[in-house]
């Protein structure tokens, strides 16, 4: 479950005030909104990268309002993947398990399993510069999953992909979310993505989030 309770945040002239949002457990939620409506800021607040001036943030049963980003149990996949420029795919996948000081054998097995699952087993020794857009997003997803998160936060993960690749990665996101039993919040401004992926759709407008129906998107 993801829950924002009456949060407030501001940066310069931009403000989010008294905003609340609940994504039920094991649900794939899509948050839509125009460019500049604050979608990315909302994800960054959930990640703990932006400090709130009021309100509470819940991930699962835990109040994480004051928790560090790494203590929140989140898997964050930004728009361009934001892969670590000097690390191979193998090192990216092993990054979080290494920080968690898991045994080496367990890390190797996890990397192999994720690479097979995401179809990137042949890319393990490549650097990000040698990957296509779709491959980069798969690696970013794998890197997030390797941390064993409770929720996935996906910030426009398909927007930089061509149409064919977009469909492929969308199917992958849906499958991975289901198989890993995760709650997901997917940010987009694409109705097509919402129709394809969402169990529930939210709209962010004028600093407020409201639930909307899939039918209203057609």
């Amino acid at each position: 479950m993801i829950r924002l309770e009456n949060i407030a945040w501001s940066a310069g002239q931009f403000k989010l005030e008294n905003l609340s949002l609940t994504v039920p457990k094991n649900c794939y939620a899509v948050l839509m909104g125009k460019t500049g409506s604050g979608k990315t800021s909302l994800v960054e607040i959930l990640c703990g990268l932006r400090l709130l001036t009021a309100g509470k943030v819940w991930i699962g049963e835990d109040d994480v309002t004051y928790a560090l980003p790494g203590e929140r149990g989140i898997g964050y996949v930004p728009q361009d993947g934001a892969l670590f420029p000097t690390m191979t795919v193998r090192e990216q996948l092993a990054f979080a398990p290494r920080l968690q000081k898991r045994p080496l054998k367990e890390i190797e097995a996890l990397v192999k399993r994720l690479a097979d699952e995401l179809g990137i087993a042949g890319l393990l020794d490549r650097l990000p510069q040698k990957l296509s857009g779709g491959e980069r997003q798969r690696v970013a997803l794998g890197r997030a999953l390797a941390a064993k998160p409770k929720v996935l936060l996906l910030d426009e993960p398909l927007s930089a992909l061509d149409e064919e690749m977009r469909d492929e990665v969308a199917q992958l996101l849906k499958r991975v979310r289901r198989e890993h039993g995760l709650t997901a919040l997917h940010i987009t401004h694409s109705k097509q993505e919402a129709l394809q992926l969402a169990d529930v759709v939210f709209r962010l407008e004028n600093g407020q989030v409201s639930e909307t129906t899939l039918d209203s998107l057609n």
Binding site: C47, G48, G70, R72, Y76, F84, L99, Q100, R143, A147
Partner: protein, 262 residues
């Protein structure tokens, strides 16, 4: 009205002409200097104990300065690039002071600072005035300002997003910078150290004022050129100048090869 091909080529031709004239002037100066000395003169001069000492001291102090500059340039460059705080523009401008101030004035400022109570207190630990440590400090004051500029540019070009992702995966901010950002900034760090090294190699005014020009003690290559010139030994000053040009070229090529692509 569409531009004719002739107009475009005229535009580019004028740019090429300005560039060519500029390069010609630079190369003509270097060729004239190089042709003033023979390889024999050059070898003889570079073999003299004083000049060998000066070469050694220049290499040692420039390398020390480059490393020290990097130590301050990385954190300050990162702070200026990533953090927003009140007075940031003022801090940014203050850091440029050594770049815009005449070098001789910088040396004078150092000399006066070490006559102040704080300066005298610091000199109870290490003596800077008219010592090798003073040479390094005089080089550092100016070289570090250039290194900070380079590191700030490097961090500006690196997206903060991977660092933030690393934090969501369990890193502290420091770990994220160490594991993700600094490896990505390695070319910029090399460029910053090289810029500081090259600036230090050519530093003359502040060293002369603050550390003096004592033979076999605080004499570095620019000081040698000046000392030899002042006693009318043009061959020696030309030989040392050629050596400095060659060293500067090596550093420039190294910077170009490393690039600032980060």
């Amino acid at each position: 009205m569409a531009a004719s091909p002739n107009r475009i080529s005229g535009f580019w031709a004028s740019l090429v002409m300005v560039t060519s004239l500029y390069l010609f002037f630079l190369l003509a100066m270097l060729v004239a200097t190089a042709s003033y000395s023979t390889p024999g003169d050059l070898w003889k001069t570079l073999n003299s104990p004083e000049i060998r000492y000066s070469i050694g001291l220049s290499l040692a102090t420039c390398t020390t300065t480059a490393l020290l500059s990097l130590l301050v340039a990385v954190p300050i460059g990162y702070l200026l690039s990533r953090a927003n705080f009140r007075g940031k523009e003022l801090v940014d401008s203050l850091i440029d002071i050594p770049i815009v101030l005449p070098p001789m004035v910088m040396g004078l400022c150092l000399l006066i600072f070490f006559q102040s109570p704080l300066g005298r207190f610091l000199e109870q630990g290490i003596t800077f005035t008219y010592t090798v440590a003073g040479v390094v400090l005089a080089q550092f004051v100016i070289g570090s300002a250039f290194a900070i500029r380079t590191m700030r540019g490097t961090f500006d070009h690196l997206s903060a997003r991977p660092e933030e992702v690393a934090m969501t995966l369990g890193c502290t901010r420091g770990q994220a910078v160490w594991l993700v950002t600094l490896p990505a900034a390695r070319r910029g760090m090399f460029a910053a150290a090289s810029v500081a090294w090259a600036r230090s190699l050519g530093e003359f005014g502040p060293i002369l004022v603050f550390a003096g020009a004592t033979r076999m003690k605080t004499e570095v290559l620019p000081t040698t050129v000046w000392l030899e010139l002042s006693v009318g030994n043009l061959e020696a000053s030309v030989a040392v100048s050629i050596l400095m040009v060659l060293m500067a070229l090596v550093v420039l090529v190294a910077i170009r090869l490393a690039g600032e692509r980060v």
